[in-house]
Amino acid sequence: MRGSVAEALGIVGLTRRFGALRAVDGVDLSVERGTMTGLIGPNGAGKSTLFNLLTGTLRPDAGTVTLMGQDVTRMRPEARFAAGLGRTFQIPRPFARMSVLDNVMTAPTAQLGERLWGPFLRPRAVAAQEARLRARAMEVLDFVTLAPLAQHPAGKLSGGQTKLLELARVLMGEPSVILLDEPAAGVNPALTELLIGKIEELNRGGTTFVIIEHDMDLVMRHCAPIVALAEGRVVFQGSAAEAQSNQVLIDAYLGGVHA
């Protein structure tokens, strides 16, 4: 097993088939700590499947995944969040009929009051924990500029606000690695800038990001390194400048844009 200290995510030989289709086909990838990796590739390249393998929603047919040096290949999704891996969804999944604040307060693991008898047997400890969580949740909401909407039903937020909410929810778990699935899709440009600004701020604070994004301009400006997938394989890995001059990449993906 590889797994250097500088590695946030170590992916070795990761494979997942759907029938005859190899959606992810022997992917080897080392994501260094503190980087903001951009994951690009045409539709059907296997980007979202790779995310689902990393978060544990899907089981791999072969290969291993390490998170901060720890082998998480057999871990269930809920355990991976506790181990420091957060994710957002391509199509946002807010808890619609809950307030924005409740959405965010749900996230931390190991809450005393989440046990059936917790609120009855240890009311004070639960109340104290709730007060701390609420204060922390308001800080996080403030950071993503949603604090004024704390009591709004999450289902009434705009698309961009929902992306911010998902980010806030994930941040409550204080993850070391965050996977973002198309954060800019369906978000207006002003809100996209805000979102990317927040992500870069977190990244400077040491959080590692892996970002699936179709907005090439955004990826080229903000992500390093850039990793391209095609037909389930890594076909390119390098800087933005290298990506724009790489013939394989232009053929596989950028070709359609430049032609």
């Binding site: 957060g86 999944r93 808890f95 809950m98 749900t106 609120p119 039903p153």
Partner: protein
Amino acid sequence: MIGVISYLVFFATVASILAIAVLGLNLHWGYTGLFNGGVVAFFGAGAYGTLMLGGAPQPHLGGFEWPWIFALIGGVAAAAVLAWIVGLLTLRLRHDYLAIATFGVAVAFENTMRNAQGFAGGAQGIRGFERPFREFAGNGLGWNLLYLALVLVALVATYLFLERLARAPFGRLLRAIREDEEAARSLGKSPARIRLTSFVTGSAIMGLAGGLYGTFYAFVSPQDVLPILTFQIWAMLIVGGAGNNRGAVAGAFLIWGAWTASGWGLSRFAPVDWQLYAGSIQWVLIGSVIVGMLMWRPEGLFPERVGEDRPQTGRTT
């Protein structure tokens, strides 16, 4: 006058017992999104359990003459154990599939009780139950009033228990799983375990309602666990408002009132040749109420409150 009062006491007792069952269903459906189509199985387990443990010796199983309160607790435990087994087997099913599976469990329960003569008295049911506090309150209106008071205590206790749960992080977690299980998993939650906890707890509450119901009539038979009761309890929750405990209680009184009134009205005013179909007409009415409510006011009379039911935080809307 006495007649009216004793009828009102009788009505309030049955409505309050049903309200407890509706509160149990609200924990399942309103808070956790579990589509339990077999409410009567858990209600029945509570009723049968209580009467078998607390009743006089019988030719069939049961008749252990436990003190009433222990028999009632035993009935609740019977419902909880049944729910735990059913839950382990079916909770991986979603929505309509879970409803079909639990409906099947309820039908199987009714048929077992109807046919297992040596187990639960078969079609004749279980009789010969000594109602509690009889020597103290007699057998007439006095006992009925005392029992209504007991049932109301149980209803208030259940209501307060569930309200506390709903406002605690546990309730928040239930709602999160109801809204989006996969998102909840991505945030480190274990939906399978939480769904089972909710299912067993709600079913135990239905068992409590069943135990109180069996005690009230000092009798239970397969006729008490027919699917119509599941539909009535669902109608109460839908009309009252899923996700709102006050709505659940109000729905129970409203629907039970409408059910009783329609039965009385049909027997009094409907033409004689319609009388034969009075039961079927009531079925049609309850079905129409469910459908009408789902079409025109799916959130119920008392909708779930989102965001503003937390007095600790200021409103910003």
